[in-house]
Amino acid sequence: MRIALVLGLIASLSTPSLAQVQKPDPRDAAVIVQCLESAAANGDKQDRCIGIVSMPCLQDDKTNGTTLGMETCGDREFAVWNNLLKRAILQLRSELDSEQRAKLDAMQDAWSASLAGSCSFYWDYFKGTMAGPLIAQCMSDETGRRVLFLLGFLDDTGFLDGKNGK
């Protein structure tokens, strides 16, 4: 969705890959959790928290003008959302009955398949290393949206309280 923006920022080529699963930076995690809490407290849409780490990273010229650097921006934010996602699924599973848990698992499997297809399509479409940052951003954005969807089932259980996605 931010295809044109990211394309416009690409300055050189590097090796593309699906986002690397790395440990979230505590500062990045804190930025996202604070954004989620602030949005919830103010009645704002939490969607605005998606991109809050990767977009400034891309736009503040912290990428050294390389696609690898740009991928890092998406990977950094993906690490936070992915961690939150894993926790959200675990917590939700623990609250559901067995029938609902099976539905949750099936839903999550379908989402994972869709995520892989959607993000890898950047590679299929561009057929070049410039797809790397787009894939990283796609993984991060979609995982963020997934967390927000699942948070809707958890948000009166203090999921974010005292936790920062570490």
């Binding site: 295809i3 029938e99 989402w111 299929d124 089932f153």
Partner: protein
């Protein structure tokens, strides 16, 4: 147990099976205008999702579930139209292997969207789930429409 937060989130979010066949021309124009305005360095197409439905269902508490569902169906019709046009434009421009990937991706997305939105019913297990499912379907369709639109615009720009 009904959690208000879930209702708010789900209604802020968005489904295609309920969509009306043809979008209202004014609704389509409003969405197009929004997409154009949100293009550029501060890319924010996602902010156009909910443009029609949120205004239409602003007084949801005083509306019947059917009327709320109609609001989401109204917006979904616009997104369905954008999605279908973008998909067709891509199919017409891509190579055979890319078409296969696109088709597979779209099928995976449909399966995921249906399971996501049905989960709202599985979770709430009541009639209040219906407007939430409509909202879920509309939002999901909007996101996918914009995703495909990004590629379709790129294809158009290459001509």
């Amino acid at each position: 147990m009904v959690r208000p937060g879930v209702v708010i989130l789900a209604l802020c979010v968005s489904a295609p099976a309920l969509a009306q066949d043809k979008p209202d021309a004014k609704d389509s124009a409003a969405i197009e205008q929004c997409v154009t305005a949100k293009t550029g360095r501060h890319w924010a197409w996602e902010q156009c999702i909910g443009l029609i439905s949120e205004k239409c269902s602003a007084h949801e508490e005083r509306m019947s579930p059917a009327d709320v569902i109609a609001c989401y169906a109204r917006e979904q019709a616009v997104w369905d139209d954008i999605l279908n046009k973008s998909y067709r434009a891509l199919m017409n421009a891509l190579e055979d292997d890319q078409k296969t990937k696109l088709r597979g991706m779209q099928r995976a997305w449909i399966a995921s969207r249906d399971k996501n939105c049905e989960f709202l019913y599985d979770y709430f297990q009541g009639s209040m789930a219906n407007p939430m499912m409509a909202a879920c379907q509309s939002r999901a369709t909007g996101l996918q429409a914009l995703y495909l639109r990004g590629f379709a615009d790129d294809v158009a720009g290459r001509k």
